[in-house]
Symmetry: C2
Subunit: 323 residues, 2 copies
């Protein structure tokens, strides 16, 4: 609080709260990069959060998530709602696809102050992407966004962790993509609240819808919600109002049943675990290791001189993290 | 060492070293479930590891990883090599697909003692799957397997972390699957050492091969290796000897350049970080929190009463993990 960063942090918080796009971008980057003052920034933004509704959109590559997110954002904007979009892309620096996609999409909404779009690309840090995405939702929430769309490829565990941040999860499927079975298996089936069959002008849509309803009919949810199936053609905007209505219905269901706080508590529990992991690692590295020591330990293990668990026990002991 | 588990741990180590399938299965499960004595087990197995060559096979859903892994395993078996296969499946308990696939595949090799196949399914624990897979490779290595195939869906960060365990990474692509571009973007492009175009009897194979070679021509690797492109039809076994030859060539390259120890050191450094994270979390939860306290903290955050970073700082302080 006494450091010079205090003053600029305060003005950053003011800028975010006023919905200033540059302040929002600056705050998300500061949290993403663990800049000094990041903890203080979250602490100051946090009291102004909790109002935004988080909509997660996920699906296999090629299901049309970006198109649908754009259409849904435009739908909410037409209702006068302020919208944030976080597009999480497991693209590597090798292709730079996230930045390109970001630029293209920003142009579509360039003249609209009520929408803010941010791409997040994987940094190769385990758990880092889910944490960074969670922090970005806090910033957008504090900036007064009514709806935050989180769009991510839904195949791996990392993406499932990201989707878990949302209040409602929408899973996109496409008929005849060759991977509908894989989508069923992707670990997001049981956390999807609304199903979308996109590109519904394709031939096999009816069959996929039937199969999906059979699978859904086999499961019972603890919250008594029966996930609806909505058909869309995102490139033409068809079915988008129906999707928004399905999302609203789910929101009314969980709020009516008093489940929203419970679901948020469950999500925060997971996020607290992630934060503890990352913070504890930072502390151990600072206290006992440093990059050089760690590299030396890794070499010993690679040569077979020491086993990995003994090394880790010693590092934790030196850092004062005792069993 | 004084506890009764000591004796059974010793016989378990003997069983694993003798290549006994039941002992191997028992040891992998013990490590997977963090059973008491797991650390001791790794400590005893570790001196007998370091000989196996780890081959990672990854690719989007529908590229034919399982078929190719089966064919490659059979190829190595025909050369008299002992083979372990770890099939990492992000399938949820919702479908039980991993177990079904496991049974089907075990039948194919049921009469062969020289091969051991193990499926690992996601447990919803962040970072847990990569750690469990790493531990399983140690067991199979100590059991005298010459080649360990690690097969996983390659889209998310979690899968990339799993692939990083391997000595050589093989990336499968298929023409016309509708997601070839996504496969290029999946963050595994730059860690793939050998590219396979599977289902090479499909029409668009030539075009995909050309595109791939253009993309590969744009990058230079620090280890001077130029990743080859091998065409296979896994269902018929076509191209499998050529794939094995490409893997051998890469192995000869890194061993000839003295890079194997360096690469293993880099991998161990990542795994040590993961282990520190998980162990430190366990310690913090044991020392300061417990599930009830954590749930209460999560409720406070969900209600907006406290910010998440302050909560985590306090929990770490109580656990004696200081900044």
């Amino acid at each position: 609080m006494k450091k010079p960063a205090g003053a600029s942090a305060a003005s950053l918080v003011d800028g975010v709260r006023a919905g200033d796009a540059r302040a929002i971008a600056r705050a998300i980057s500061a949290l993403e990069d663990h800049e000094p003052g990041a903890v203080e920034l979250v602490r100051e933004l946090f009291p102004h959060t909790g109002k935004a509704f988080l909509v997660g959109l996920t699906g296999a590559p090629g299901t049309g998530k970006s198109s649908l997110a754009n259409r849904l954002a435009a739908h909410y904007r037409a209702q006068g709602k302020r919208v944030g979009v976080i597009a999480v892309d497991p693209t590597s620096p090798f292709t730079g696809g996230a930045l390109l996609g970001d630029r293209i999409r920003m142009q579509q909404h360039a003249t609209d102050d009520g929408i803010y779009i941010r791409s997040m690309a994987t940094r190769g840090v385990l758990g880092g992407l889910a944490r960074a995405t969670g922090d970005a939702t806090l910033v957008l929430d504090a900036a007064g966004k009514d709806i935050i769309l989180i769009e991510t490829v839904g195949v791996g565990q990392d993406e499932v962790d990201i989707v878990r941040l949302a209040d409602v999860t929408v899973l996109l499927l496409v008929a005849g993509l060759g991977d509908d079975v894989q989508s069923f298996k992707a670990g997001v089936m049981e956390i999807a609240d609304v199903f979308v069959i996109n590109k519904a002008d394709r031939g096999d849509t009816e069959r996929l819808e039937q199969e999906l309803k059979v699978v859904l009919g086999l499961s019972r949810r603890a919250d008594q919600w029966e996930p609806p199936v909505v058909k869309t053609v995102a490139t033409e905007g068809a079915g988008v109002p129906e999707l928004a209505a399905a999302v609203d219905a789910y929101r009314a269901h969980i709020e009516g049943a008093g489940l929203r706080e419970q679901k948020r508590s469950e999500r925060w529990q997971e996020r607290l675990l992630d934060l503890i992991r990352e913070r504890a690692l930072e502390r151990v590295l600072k206290a006992s290791v440093g990059k050089d020591k760690l590299a030396a330990c890794a070499r010993q293990v690679a040569r077979g001189e020491r086993d990995p668990y003994s090394v880790v026990e010693e590092l934790l002991r030196v850092a004062g993290v005792n069993g």
